[in-house]
Amino acid sequence: MNPTVPIPLSARLRDAAKTLVLPLLLVLAWHVAVKATGTRLIPAPREVAIMLWDFCFGGIYDDAYSKTILTHFWASVRRVYGGFFAAAAIGVPLGLLIGRVKLIRELVDPTLQLLRPVPVTAWLPLSMIFFGLGPKAAIFLVFLGAVFPIVLNTTFGVRSVDGKLFEAAAMLGCGGSSLFRQVVLPAASPSIFNGLRLGHGFSWILIVVGEMTGVQEGLGAVIMDARMLSRADLVIAGMIVIGVAGFVSDRILVMINNRLLRWSPQHHV
């Protein structure tokens, strides 16, 4: 009955502590496994931590990757968000139209369903032909990966709006384009956000594939280069940076989601 009560700080800290338990256990297991097997192919957590430090601040190896994290990070962020925002800008309106307009649904939906199962990696050669070697091909691949979940979830959201809400809107004098803005969009927004969140996750996943297209900078490019150079510590460092970046930007999206969908407690993440 009451509007949301703010959660006390101690409870928040306790929740944060709980989320850290499993990652710390995994790192411990990793350390033990490397020491126990004596493998030289996979570095221990300590070596990766040193690599990460050098990647961020330099002063240890002083090679081509020292203190270059920001360059690579921003290059990747631009591509992730270039592809993601393009996917959102096309996917949400397209999903709304497919959901609401029968003719567009009949024209577009079968083709969409045909294209959807094709793995994004399979588009890699074609995208390099379309866009050449460089960031545009990476953005295109991220776009492809993100657009399908956005379109599908938006369509689903529009299709599942309670018909009575349209009747209520019509009787209260709301119709036409106003109906789209005032009823369809907000009613479908939980599903739209779900699609955006999925698409956003795919965007970060696909950045490594996108940056296989021969770009010089970017976290994916670093991982690909490190693989060539057999530097597993750098590969893992790059993985950790992508994981953290994806996690943080997902939390930001969740915060926006919870703010915009504060009317619907069951859609809070």
Partner: protein, 343 residues
């Protein structure tokens, strides 16, 4: 509580402009029509309302025309210069309305030959077993469905689609979950271009009418069923609806909440003079609320009987005369069922 003068002219039934322009001598127009049926003779109801408003509004500075020597102008109840719906017509005229649906290749006749004339300010209950077409009839009046045959008109104008003058209150509320109580109630006025303070004032007035002022910034998900239904009622009233269409509105509520809402609905009805068409399958609810009960039967849905309920208000559900009416309506409902019609 809301000031009746602030309600829209059309919903009140008395136009303040007409009052100012005509200055009837208080009481005369009522006295000249003694014994008229207020349901069918609208001018009497109107004149009574006008006289009351005029007396109240003129205040202590008013001197009777006869005392000051000025001849009173002829009493005209309706100022012809103001465009008003034709008062001599019933607010709703439903003639021979039928509705057929096709369901998977089969045609189902939901309603046949429904004829009903409803006057302004009536409280009409449609009652009947499921499948009697009462909801279908309500949805045709709302404009959500089109009749397969017959005509349905409001003030003589054919109903072609949903409109703000006919407000539906759904059983499952159909509130906009992303809007607060205030925004839900203001939704209709906003569509008509009302903004800022004007919009806030309208919303505040109707929130007060249904007793939800304290919950202005709550979302529907944070409200109880009864409160949601209050918002739904306020939402259509704020949109200047003249006919309140209610489709089993209290069916999903617990008994105590239902009783409270029934009483509040009667208060609102008396205060605003809105016409109510109320679908229910509870005989007690129908007899308690309405000025007229329309009994419908199924297979195909049609109007079986139409009774005026003249019990004095407030009504007591345990009184013997209430029980007598309830028994009579129940007999009309069940006599048809016992004849072997599909339940």
């Amino acid at each position: 509580m809301s000031d009746p003068g602030s309600k829209s002219p059309s919903a009140l039934g008395a136009d303040p402009g007409a009052v100012a322009g005509t200055q009837p001598i208080p009481g005369t127009s009522v006295a000249s029509h003694p014994g008229g049926d207020p349901g069918s003779d609208l001018s009497v109801t109107l004149a009574a309302g006008l006289a009351a408003v005029t007396q109240a509004d003129l205040g202590p500075d008013f001197t009777m025309p006869t005392q000051s020597g000025i001849r009173a102008r002829p009493v005209t109840v309706i100022d012809e210069s103001i465009a008003l719906p034709p008062r001599h017509l019933p607010i709703l005229a439903i003639a021979h309305v039928g509705k057929r649906f096709s369901v998977g290749g089969n045609t189902v006749e939901a309603l046949r030959g429904a004829t009903l004339s409803i006057n302004k300010g009536e409280f009409v209950c449609l009652i009947g077993a499921s499948g009697c077409g009462k909801s279908t009839l309500l949805r045709i009046i709302a404009g959500f469905e089109t009749a397969s045959s017959g005509t349905c008109a409001m003030y003589g104008q054919a109903i072609t689609g949903p409109g703000p003058e006919r407000g539906m209150v759904f059983q499952d509320y159909a509130l906009f979950p992303w809007l607060t109580v205030r925004e839900n109630i203001g939704f209709g006025p906003k569509q008509r271009g009302l903004l800022g303070q004007g919009l806030r004032d309208v919303a505040a007035r109707y929130m007060e009418m249904v007793g939800l002022t304290k919950f202005a910034d709550y979302y529907p998900a944070q409200l109880s069923g009864g409160m949601k239904q209050r918002v739904a009622i306020a939402r259509v009233l704020a949109n200047d609806c003249e006919v309140l269409l209610m489709d089993e509105p209290f069916g999903a509520l617990d008994a105590l909440t239902r009783e409270k809402l029934q009483q509040d609905l009667l208060d609102i009805w008396e205060k605003t003079n809105v016409t109510v068409i109320f679908v229910t399958h509870s005989v007690e609810e129908a007899v308690f609320l309405s000025s007229r009960v329309v009994v419908m039967t199924a297979g195909p849905g049609r109007i079986e009987h139409d009774t005026a309920i003249s019990l004095p208000r407030p009504r007591d559900v345990s009184a013997p005369d209430f029980n007598a009416v309830r028994r009579e309506i129940t007999q009309r409902l069940t006599s048809h069922v016992s004849q072997g019609a599909p339940a």
